[in-house]
């Protein structure tokens, strides 16, 4: 009789991944134990003898790391492969499974990091920050609810699609629809981030020149705003981008450089946060 993974085992496997993909993280084996914990219900469901269980568990001791949320797809695919192996199709062995895992984790990490962590979460956070401005908790609550619903059901969808479709599940992500969708969301993300920067990063200069009678004849900030509102903010962001993207300087070094710029700027009066008790 053909073996089939029980619904309960699949559900346990998914939830183990959903919760535990990174809980036992080390630099050496990042998500490997999360993967093992997730495959164990499947392996126990498919095999009764310890020998087969051990062989299958050993397959998943190989290093694994990807963007964990989109990575649910890979776990689902391997659940399907393990089922095929249990049915002795003879086509599935350690090499098939680990070749597929190793082949997918890099590209999926790239897609997941840029699409989920680099675009979806910032867009959600941007909107939530807008809702929370002034100190209202609504934005934070909005983020908690919307993000968690998206993450849970998105990962569940990815896991079960992976199980059902196997390798074909990936084609959607790299196919024409997936590619177009990624670019469109990237455009949306860039615009929202622009709005976040404009609303939340106010960089102003304190330079103003006064004539002999104390009347101000040049207020640099007003002049700059006349050219393009938020000009200094834009300039600083492009400057930081240029340092990191074109000069390959690490974010921490860029931050230190900003400390130096702030210090010099305060000394010469360019910056003055106008502190008083």
């Amino acid at each position: 009789m053909e073996k089939k993974i029980s619904k309960k085992a699949l559900s346990r496997s998914f939830h183990h991944w959903y919760y535990g993909n990174l809980t036992c993280f080390t630099q050496e084996h990042m998500q490997t134990f999360g993967y093992l914990a997730s495959m164990l219900p499947i392996v126990e469901d498919l095999y009764d003898n310890k020998e087969d269980q051990k062989r299958s568990m050993n397959t998943y001791t190989a290093f694994f790391n990807t963007e964990p949320q989109i990575g649910a797809l890979v776990v689902g695919i391997t659940a399907g492969l393990e089922e095929a192996r249990a049915n002795q199709s003879g086509e599935v062995d350690d090499e098939t499974i680990n070749g597929l895992r190793a082949g997918l984790m890099g590209p999926l990490a790239g897609i997941g990091d840029s699409l989920i962590v680099g675009t979806l979460i910032p867009i959600l956070l941007g909107v939530s920050m807008g809702l929370s401005s002034g100190g209202s908790p609504i934005g934070a609550i909005f983020y908690i609810v919307v993000w968690n619903l998206l993450a849970y059901f998105g990962m569940k969808f990815a896991y079960y699609k992976g199980y059902e479709l196997g390798g074909k599940a990936v084609e959607f992500l790299v196919g024409p629809v997936g590619n177009s969708l990624r670019k469109a969301i990237g455009c949306l993300g860039a615009m929202v981030i622009g709005a976040v920067a404009a609303s939340w990063v106010p960089i102003t200069t304190a330079i103003s020149l006064k004539n002999a009678s104390g009347k101000e004849y040049l207020n640099l900030q007003n002049q700059l705003d006349g050219v393009y509102p938020g000009l200094l903010t834009g300039v600083f962001i492009v400057f930081c981008w240029w340092l990191m993207a074109k000069k390959n300087i690490s974010p921490i070094k860029v931050m230190l450089l900003l400390v130096v710029i702030a210090f010099l700027g305060v000394l010469c009066g360019f910056f003055n946060p106008g502190l008083k008790y």
Binding site: C24, M57, M155, A184, C187, A197, V254
Partner: protein, 280 residues
Amino acid sequence: MTISWLQAALLGLFACLASMPGLGGTSIGNYTLGRPLVGGLVCGLILGDLRLGIICGLALQVVYIALVTPGGTVSADVRAISYIGIPLAMVAIKSQGIDPLSGNAKSMATSMGTLVGTLGTVLFYGTATLNLVWQHIGWKAIENEDFHKVYLVDWGLPWISHFLFSFIPTLLLCRFGADAVTALKTALPMDGIPMRTLFTVGQLLPCVGIAILLKQIVEKATDFIPFFVGFTLAKSLGLNLVSCTVIAMIFAVIYYELEMIKQRKTVAVDAIDDEEEEDI
């Protein structure tokens, strides 16, 4: 404003859950509780000043809006930002008597949180290193066919790592750091160069966070255009973020349709090429 042992312990518990790799799991822990905006909500509730908590969270959220950790390399630690940085910033703002709605409150929170977050990376490496011991136990268990120990290794034993590297540091830094932050007021006068620099740094730092995001999106100069369109909508036209998102959506839809046409064309061209080859 002081932080009691109980409050510090609660913050410590949230630090365990929220870190990357946290015990709340990735989606709930790192990407929900670990985000400074949510951290601000939690800290605000624990310390009894919800509005101030959210304001500090907002300020830090801009800096860390795109905290991507490719391949497990971190430049800042979320547990330290959200559950050590925010509480200390709240204490500092209160003790200095800064208006929570002013730009200076934001700058203070940004400087304090970023400093703590950067130093906090040591907690990340501590946790990850101690987890090696638990993984070693796990390898042995698999060797001995004691498979269920995998659960203990993945979900149970890391609590020990977090007790040492999340709970204890958060507990002590929040409990005693609050006094130190309050003492800052007398040590460094507000109109002196160091404090003015600190606040200016707080204004400048969010640029790094935004730039990290742009680094992923921008490949060529024209990719800056959507960013500056959004910037202009918010700054020059004064639209709020939700309105900007709605406008951005129509551009995204158009962009999607255009890309689909482009992709379909290449597929069609490929198909024609194939046919021609067959003819030959």
